[in-house]
Amino acid sequence: MDEQRIEALRERTARLQAELRALAEEAGGFPAVAKNAARIEASLAMIRINLGLDPESPARP
């Protein structure tokens, strides 16, 4: 598969992850937002794994 396309997907995923973490932080004390954000983060971790990335850290393996 085209590496450039993969890289573009990885970058977009990184932006989403940063946004999601900011959302989770701002949602402290608001369970309905924080818990749903945590679920989305788990799904995002799967996208990262499927793009060959470490699910947690921004570093490439």
Partner: protein, 445 residues
């Protein structure tokens, strides 16, 4: 419109193997570091072996990491925190799911999963189902109450992820399940080979319904090796008029292997999510080349709550010679899981794998689906009794069938058998996993 990919992950499933292997090594190192930082059990294990995560740089180093087996997992489970023990890598508040092993070999192993782990389980199953042709148009019937066991739960969630419509068929009895399949025109199903064959029997004999005339197009099997045993697979395919696919998984590990739509006579190892090593049974030497059987040591590379690092699964596998025509770079294991190191037993001085008997018995159309093997010590010698059922209408050919069966068994297993033929329906029926091999010899002496 973008064309739909035949691969769940068109990137990793076709990535050259050497790049996949590089990524595996990096992720294995990261997993060991995670376990070192968060699990007293793993830290102690590695300290005793004189190993730190930073020491792992090569495949040789990977092999120096101590393997764990089920007995060790049970010991770790006796420690705090209750009920998972010192292998747990996350605070209990982050555990979202409890599952356990079936406990067929003693105390069950409890498995903790975070929500991310649970997404990962569904992900692993999505690779399987997508490769076997499951698509959003499918209506998938799962004829089990999933209970505390993981496999069909994960299959259920993967169906949802893919977009299939999933029908949980627990609680209903077998006849009601057959009727529900008929009523809803379900297109796919999951189950153990034993149950798939039993369900077909109930449809035919009790309900007068030919299961091959129902709408099932594909069946994914779990829990027993039958779908990789050609004669058992053939029986299921004929009974249901459907393609039957195998997959392999374990509660401690995940769903690590699958047969793709090409059905090349083996299963792909999901090398995006798992690291599979094969070790020689006698020497422990790593086996990299095709054609040599050994036992599998496996690591799920991304599990968070209770990672299982270099798990000695006792499964006997071998790498296949040729790549699969499906185009996946994930390697194939020939003939699926060929047995378990602790199932292979010596009878009359000959190594015997129970799956070899199943392959022979299920190859006889004149025999029913059920059989039972009993190994006994009689005085100084050992005796294997094989109990089979003659299929309805086969009584007239009894002597000829049993004679051929005896010859075929001797040819395939190098052993002689006492054959007992029983009428249809006489042998025990099993709902989920069958126990057809009974070794009654005294353990010692």
């Amino acid at each position: 419109m973008t064309r739909e990919s035949p691969y769940w992950n068109p990137y990793l499933e076709t990535l050259p193997l050497e790049r996949l292997r590089r990524a595996q090594l990096a992720r294995f190192r990261r997993l060991v570091a995670w376990a070192w930082d968060n699990s007293p059990y793993y830290r102690g294990l590695y300290e005793r072996a004189g190993l730190e995560p930073g020491d792992i740089a090569t495949w040789e180093d990977v092999r120096r990491v101590p393997a764990v087996d089920k007995g060790m997992l049970k010991q770790a489970q006796e420690q705090e925190p209750f009920p998972y023990g010192s292998r747990l890598c996350v605070p209990l508040e982050q555990v979202a799911e409890f599952r356990q092993t079936s406990g067929t070999t003693g105390t069950p192993v409890y498995q903790a999963d975070t929500w991310r782990d649970w997404e990962w389980w569904a992900e692993a199953w999505s690779y399987i189902l997508w490769s076997q042709g499951y698509r959003p148009r499918d209506r998938v019937f799962i004829p089990f109450g999933y209970n505390i066991f993981v496999a069909f739960w994960a299959g259920h969630y993967a169906c949802e992820k893919i977009g299939c419509e999933v029908v949980p068929g627990g609680v209903l009895d077998t006849a009601a399940r057959v009727r529900k399949i008929q009523e809803l025109r379900a297109t796919a199903m999951m189950g153990t080979p034993t149950y798939m064959l039993g369900m077909a029997r109930v449809a035919r004999d009790r309900l007068g319904i030919d299961p091959a005339g129902l709408s099932i197009e594909r069946i994914t099997c779990a829990g027993e090796p039958g779908a990789s045993i050609p004669s058992t697979k053939r029986r299921m395919e004929q009974a249901w008029g459907a393609k039957v696919f195998d997959h392999a998984g374990a509660t401690e590990i995940g769903a690590w292997s699958y047969e793709c739509a090409e059905q090349p006579g083996g299963m792909h190892v999901n090398e995006a999510l798992f690291l599979v090593e094969i070790e020689d049974l006698a020497t422990g030497e790593a086996i990299e080349e095709p054609g040599r059987k050994g036992k599998m040591i496996i690591t799920a590379l991304d599990r968070q709550a209770q990672p299982c690092i270099r798990f000695d699964s006792k499964d006997i596998i071998e790498w296949a010679e040729d790549p699969c025509p499906c185009g996946r770079s994930f390697r194939l294991i020939k003939g699926g899981v060929q047995g378990r190191a602790d199932d292979i037993t010596k009878v009359k001085g000959v190594l015997l794998a129970p799956s070899a008997i199943e392959e022979v018995v299920r190859g006889f159309q004149a025999l029913g689906d059920e059989y039972e093997v009993v190994v006994e010590r009689i005085g100084d010698s050992e005796r294997i009794t094989l109990k089979v059922e003659l299929a309805p209408g086969a009584e007239g050919a009894r002597e000829e069938v049993l004679g051929r069966l005896k010859d075929e068994l001797r040819l395939k297993t190098n052993l002689g058998y006492v054959i007992e033929a029983h009428p249809p329906g006489a042998l025990p029926r099993y709902e989920v996993k069958a126990r057809r091999f009974k070794d009654l010899r005294p353990k010692h002496g």
